[in-house]
Amino acid sequence: MARLALRPIAVIAGKEFRDRVRNRWVLVVGLLFTAFALVIAYFGAAQQGTVGFRGIEITIASLTSLVIYLVPLIALILGFDAIVGERERGSLDLLLSYPVTRLELLLGKFLGLAGALAVSTVAGFGAVALLLARQLSWNDAWHYAGFVLSSVLLGMSFLSLAIAVSVFASERTRASGLAIALWFFFVLVFDLLLLGALVASGGAIGTDVFPYLLLLNPADVFRVLNIFTLEDVRVFYGLATVFPERLADPWLLGGVMSAWIVAPLCLAYWRFRI
């Protein structure tokens, strides 16, 4: 087997990234994040009768709910046709006839798309941080940076799932269906299933197993990562009683999130190799 070479990975990643910059994908998604984040920062508490910035912890908690819906969807849309699209267009064989291995192609695709997603996420949410700079302490800025970083990780984990979908699916239409199904499952259905299991078992699935089951969903890992690291919010959400302190370690949760990035890519490579 040929050794991994960085050059073809960089060439493919560079093309993917440039394509997203040229077709203004990065700009549009970045502006979308900025707009949503600003609206939430200023009007997030409108239901309680107040308008204006209420502090970083509540803003992050509100943004977390938004990001859980939005970022996975954007990542899945971004990556679902990465491989199957090339295959359907007929350009995959041409790419693979070059001195590039299948692993290098997968990594190049992933890194290029991940770069586009990361830039739009950091720029989009970063713009809000700049606008709020006067109202943020260093500690607030630290928390906000953690939120942005975890949003990037969340995006990458769903992008990794999208790449796996694009390898497994035989057609683009199937890939898009599968990507949407994954979004529904992880963002909408998974928590309902857990709650259902909790109720159906009469609480037998309790605090012992429940927190670990949350780790099986990158969206939940992201939620836990952002909510449990914010003291006020943790109390506010009343979740401190069901999630053990030892699992709420940001490094551990970051590691789990990273595993969610690596595992689907490994699965994709396993299927993609000849």
Partner: protein, 308 residues
């Protein structure tokens, strides 16, 4: 042509897709500097053989060596760097212009970008390099596809239906480039459905059917191997009806005899006897023309045989 080791060497190659035996025991050797054609019906196994040769799919069994090296071994990158491929339905990136497309592929191959303009010029796209590929005609896309295959001065070219979408002038220019490349020692393997186009241009060719090589050789060798009849057309003075009786004495079948023209059909073995007899009729036979079986006749003859 060199007598060194074959550039492509295939031994007992098999590829199965479930119950389908797409390549069923192919042995083939292509020499350096050969322009080699691969023909066969749709589904004969040509594309699968191409994919195997390019290392895009793994064989079920058998060996493939390109320039004496395995495509899947440690020399993978070295072999690929000296290889150019034009797929049957070339799809390039519509959002890039011609120059950017070539630069991307040059980067991927590790070829200096400086080569791109020269290659574009060579395939006749020198003036279209800054135009987006989405504005290209089918023929221009095909030329651009050919250009990417030429990057890095490949020693081996795989061209799948390379003249798709090219106009007659484009086809002529394309083969002129191929012949120049062949003269410089480049080995070229191509497929084409337009048999009349390749019969005068390839050095050797192989006919594939049901995953097997039915026949391999020069066009002339293949003609001889099929024993297909030749056709002799002749022109004679109108009203020379006595000639018909004379033609009946020849070892040939008269297919047509009217209005001062006749067409005969004879075996290759009887060719000289028939021609000698007709030449002796100098004065009565005003002109004659011998038509060898076309590559299409040869192909259809082999394609109708049971797989070996």
């Amino acid at each position: 042509m060199s007598t060194s080791h074959p550039v492509i060497e295939i031994r007992a190659l098999h590829k199965r897709f479930g119950a389908v035996h797409a390549v069923a025991g192919v042995d083939l050797a292509v020499e350096r500097g050969e322009l080699f054609g691969l023909i066969g019906h749709n589904g004969a196994g040509k594309s699968t053989l191409f994919k195997l040769l390019l290392g895009l799919i793994a064989p079920t069994s058998g060996d493939i060596h390109v320039e004496g090296k395995s495509l899947r071994g440690a020399a993978f990158r070295e072999v690929r760097r000296h290889l150019g491929y034009l797929p049957e339905n070339v799809v390039l990136y519509d959002n890039l212009n011609g120059r950017e497309t070539l630069r991307f592929f040059a980067d991927l191959k590790g070829v200096p970008r400086a080569q791109c303009d020269g290659v574009l010029e060579r395939v006749g796209l020198g003036d279209a390099g800054r135009r987006r590929v989405r504005e290209y005609s089918k023929g221009m896309r095909q030329r651009l596809g050919f250009a990417q295959a030429l990057l890095g001065q490949p020693r081996l070219l795989f061209l799948d239906e390379p003249t798709n979408g090219l106009d007659p002038e484009g086809i002529r220019e394309f083969y002129a480039i191929l012949h120049a490349l062949r003269e410089s020692g480049v080995t070229i393997l191509l497929t084409s459905h337009i048999l009349s186009e390749i019969q005068q241009r390839v050095d050797r060719l192989a006919i594939m059917k049901s995953g097997r090589i039915q026949a391999v050789g020069t066009v002339q060798q293949l003609r001889e191997s099929t024993d297909l009849p030749l056709k002799v057309s002749l022109r004679f003075a109108r009203g020379d009806d006595g000639l018909q009786a004379l033609l009946r004495t020849l070892p040939a079948r008269t297919l047509r005899f009217d209005a001062g023209e006749a067409t005969l059909q004879c075996t290759r073995q009887a060719k000289m006897e028939v021609l000698t007899a007709l030449t002796a009729l100098n004065g009565r036979v005003l002109d004659l023309h011998v038509r060898e079986p076309s590559l299409e006749d040869v192909f259809l003859g082999h394609a109708s045989e049971e797989p070996r």
